[in-house]
Amino acid sequence: MTDLFAALDRAPEPPLPPGFIEQTLRLARRGRLRRRITAAMMAILLGALGFLLPGQLATGGLAPAGSVILPDRVAGYNILTASAEESPPGAALLLFASGNWEQFTTVQDLVLATDGFTYRHVKSLRGDYFGRGGLLSPDGKAVLIAEDMRPTAAFLHVDLVTGRVREIPLPIPTGVILHAWSPDGRFVAYAQAPWSGMERSNAMELEVRAKGKLTILDLTSGQSRVIPQVAVASAAAFAPGSDRLAVQVGAETTVIDLDGGNPRKLDVPAPYGIVPGVAWSPDGHFIALIPWHTNGTNAWQPKNGWWSRHDDYKVVLFDTGSGTAVPKPLAMQDILGWRSPESLVSFDFESSTLSEVPIDGGTPTLLTTFEARHNCEYGTQVCLIESVQAATGLLGSFAVQPARTPARGPLPLWLELIGAAAAIGLGGLGVWLLRFVRRAPS
C-alpha cells in the first residue's frame, strides 16, 4: 500500500506561488486585527443592547422632585416588568392588577410610581395558587399584603422605596380583610375572623365580612389591637385626622374613635353603606356611601369594584354634621378616593379610565386611560384592569401629563441570559456567514 502511494510522488511538485509566505503572514496579521476589532464591536453592541433594551430606555430627564405625575395613558401588563422588591420604584401613585384570567392567569399587580412612567410589579402580592390582597399606603410608599382565600399568618409589608419586604406576624393564623390605611400612615384597620379553610373562592371574604372583628394594626410596633365595641367590621374608613373610623357593621354604619370609644350610629339610607377604605372626604364633612347587598349570603358586601359598572349605580354623600349642603347622588363608578373636598376620583370598568367627578354634579374630567393591549395570556387575550387603588394622600397633588415611555426596570435574569446567548449566537452566525461567503470560490 505504501509502495502504491509512493508511485504517486514521482510527479514533480510545482513551486510555491511567489510571495506565498509573505502573503500568508500579511493575512494572518490582518485576521488577528480583524478579530480584535470584531470582539470590540461585539462588546460595544452587547453593552448597547443591555442599555437600550426595554426598561432601560433613556427617558429624557426626571420629573421635578416632589411632583406627582399621572400619565394620560397608563401602561399595563408586560412580562418584562421588574419586581418592586428587586428594583424598587419609589412612591407609587397607583396600584392595579393588569392581565387576564381566561386560561393561564397572566396577571401582574403593578404599581405606577409618582414620576408617571416607572412601573413595577409587586411580586409578593401575586402569591401562589391562592390570591392575595393588598393595600397601598396613603403616601404610596408601601403595600400591606394579606391572604385572600386562606388564613394569614403574617402581613407582608413591601417598602416600595427600598424594596424591603417585612413580615408582621399575627398571633395566630386567621382570616383577614384589609380595610383601610390611616391618612397619617401609622394604622391599618382590618377585620379578622377565625378561618382555617383553603379554597379558591370568596368563602373566607364572606365569613370575615359577616363575623370579622375590627382590629387596628399599629405599624410602628407591629401590634394589633381588637376593638371590641364593634361587633362586626364589614368595612372601615379612617377620618382625615386618623383619629376616628367609619365602620360598616353589617347593614349599619357607625363612627367610633380609634380606641373604640364614642360610638355613633349614622342614619344612612338603606341599602347604602360606606365606600370601603376611602369614604371620608379630606375636610371630614362627608362620608361617601355606595349600595351594599347580601347577594344571597349572610354577609353584607359593598357593591364596589366590578359591581359599580351598572348604569343605575349612584354614590351618595352623607353629611357628618358639618351642616354643609349635601349634593345630589352622583352617577359614577368605583371610587378610588378624594382628589379634593369637592371632587372624587373614579375608575370606570367599561372604559378603563380614571375621571375626576365633582360632587356638585358638574361634568367629570377624564384623567387617564389604562391601555388595553392584546398581549395577555401569551398574546391571546386583551389585558384587563382590576383592583385599582390610589395613594389617597397623593390624589390632591398629581398633575396629568402626556405619557412617556414606560420604564420597567432591569430585565429578568433569565431573559438577560437568553438575550446574551441569542446575541452571541447571532454574532457567531454572522461571523460564520461572513466567512462562508468570503471563502466561497468565485
Binding site: 502504491l4 502511494f5 508511485a7 511538485e13 509566505i21 500568508t24 493575512l27 496579521r29 485576521g31 478579530r35
Partner: protein, 170 residues
C-alpha cells in the same frame, strides 16, 4: 504576537511549508487547493502560535491543523461542486507507462473516498504515520482509525478491482 515570536513563526513556516503543502495536496489532490489549505492552516497557526509552541510536538500540532482545515473545507457546500481543472493532455496513441496509469487510477479512487477515509489512508500510507499519530492528527481514537482504514481499503478494492490484492494490503 511579539517580534521574536513572529520571527520564530516565519522560520518555522519557511522550513515546513513544502512538507505541509505536500500533505495538503495528498489530502485534496489539487495543488491550488493545497495552497489554500496550507495558507488557511498557517493563518490559524499564527493565531495559536504560543499554544502550538507550548504543546511540544509542533509538527504534529500543525499537521492536525492542516487535516482539520481540509475536513472542514470538505464539509462546505462548494466543496461538493465540480472543481475546475486543467484539461487533460491529449496523449494520442503514445504508449503510457503502467505506473502512470496506476497513479491516475489511484488518484481517481482517492477522490471517490469520503474525506475522513481519504485522510486516514493518506496519513497512514502516504505520509507514513502509525495508527497513534494518525489518530492524533485526526482527533479520533486509534480504534476509529483502524475501522476507517479497513473501510477505506475495502472501498479501494471495489474501485480498483484489477489491482492485485497484495498492493492494497495494509
Amino acid at each position: 504576537m511579539r517580534v521574536d515570536e513572529e520571527r520564530d513563526y516565519v522560520q518555522y513556516v519557511q522550513g515546513r511549508v513544502l512538507t505541509l503543502r505536500r500533505t495538503a495536496f495528498r489530502l485534496c489532490g489539487d495543488w491550488h487547493q493545497a495552497h489554500d489549505l496550507v495558507q488557511a492552516a498557517l493563518i490559524l497557526l499564527y493565531r495559536h502560535w504560543r499554544k502550538a509552541c507550548a504543546a511540544g510536538a509542533l509538527d504534529a500540532y500543525v499537521r492536525k491543523i492542516v487535516v482539520n482545515v481540509y475536513l472542514e473545507d470538505q464539509r462546505r457546500w462548494w466543496s461538493r461542486k465540480v472543481r475546475p481543472r486543467a484539461a487533460m493532455p491529449d496523449v494520442g496513441d503514445v504508449p503510457v507507462e503502467s505506473s502512470a496509469v496506476e497513479a491516475l487510477d489511484l488518484r481517481w479512487a482517492l477522490d471517490q473516498l469520503s474525506p475522513g477515509q481519504r485522510a486516514v489512508v493518506v496519513l497512514r500510507y502516504w505520509d507514513g504515520l502509525d495508527v497513534a499519530r494518525t489518530a492524533a492528527a485526526l482527533g479520533v481514537s486509534p480504534g476509529t482509525v483502524k475501522s476507517q482504514t479497513a473501510q477505506a481499503i475495502a472501498r479501494l478494492r471495489q474501485l480498483l478491482p484489477n489491482y492485485v490484492s497484495e498492493k492494497l494490503e495494509a
